[in-house]
């Protein structure tokens, strides 16, 4: 399966990265990692890229890493639709101090606009 993982710098993105790379290593999906500019994220693009490369090397997974500019949600949806991906994977949201799940703006946009199947990682 051709999978596009979209990540910014938030904690749920990093969790989605770890779980998706793990899954790819186990089932042999055709994975592409897209790094977007998430203004709500706490990590810089360079830090994220380093983390991605480390993790891919660790698990022996060969996946291209793409840097996307512009609006994160729409650039992910564009890429997924235009390049024939089967699935678009995103972080599943942060939790509030109370423990409530809060879906971020990017996931919200993607869920409502993507014609490609969306997976939110919990």
């Amino acid at each position: 399966m051709k999978v596009l993982l979209g990540i910014g710098g938030s904690d749920d993105s990093i969790r989605a990265l770890e779980k998706t790379v793990e899954r790819t290593a186990n089932v042999g999906d055709d994975l592409t990692v897209a790094i977007v500019d998430n203004p709500a994220g706490e990590r810089s693009r360079e830090d994220i890229e380093t983390r991605v490369t480390e993790l891919l090397d660790e698990r022996g997974v060969d996946a291209p890493v793409r840097l996307l500019d512009g609006d994160p949600g729409s650039s992910l949806v564009d890429l997924a639709e235009n390049e024939g991906f089967d699935q678009l994977v995103l972080g599943g949201g942060e939790t509030s101090p109370m423990g409530k799940i809060q879906i971020g703006n990017i996931a919200e946009f993607v869920l409502l606009n993507s014609h490609v199947t969306v997976t939110l990682v919990r």
Binding site: T95, S96, P97, M98, G99, K100, I101, Q102, I103, N105, E108
Partner: protein, 184 residues
């Protein structure tokens, strides 16, 4: 993380618990602050274990007893404020304030058997009263926009919508004037 807006006006000073009242089904309901005991914690676990999953909000209460316990341990911590509505030794409802920077996040749950009896309004007022006497200044919450009963309840006690841009509405209330040094 917080760019939430809070009203300048302070909400009504609701009474702090303990208090009691008769609900619309003629049950005597007592509202008390959580006493920190294992017995009360177990009564809460029982209430949430029997909670209708269709009344869950953004993933809480969780759906399995071990997860309910993890979640409760977190929100029954001593820096949180918890108020319980009792029908005898059975929990009818539970409301909580969890610290988040200089504000507190609120949630309230009334068991299905006790809904539409006026308990939610009394319980949330008691929690806000408890917050006020405990020095809480600002409170926020999120609520699914389709949940009109809940949105109506929050508006009734003085919450105002502060963010309507996301899936969930965010609402806020001020319980006390800001301290002078912040006043500017």
């Amino acid at each position: 993380m917080s760019n939430r807006t809070f009203s300048d006006a302070v909400a009504d000073p609701y009474d702090a618990p303990p208090l009691s009242f008769t609900d619309r089904e003629d049950r005597t309901i007592e509202v008390r602050a959580y006493d920190g005991s294992d017995e009360e914690m177990e009564a809460l676990v029982e209430m949430y274990d029997a909670f209708d999953p269709s009344d869950r909000a953004q993933g809480i209460p969780p759906g399995r007893e071990d997860r309910i316990r993890d979640w409760l341990e977190n929100i029954l911590d001593e820096d949180c404020l918890n108020v319980i509505a009792w029908d005898g030794d059975e929990v009818a409802g539970h409301a909580t304030l969890v610290p988040d920077g200089d504000a507190y996040e609120l949630a309230i749950f009334v068991h299905q058997t006790y809904q539409r009896a006026g308990i939610g309004t009394r319980l949330i007022k008691a929690l806000l009263g408890y917050g006020r006497v405990s020095g809480v200044e600002k409170v926020w919450l999120t609520v699914e926009r389709w949940n009109r009963a809940a949105v109506g309840l929050y508006q009734t006690v003085g919450f105002e919508t502060s963010d309507a841009e996301s899936f969930e509405l965010e609402m806020t209330i001020r319980l006390a004037e800001p301290p002078d040094e912040e006043g500017g």
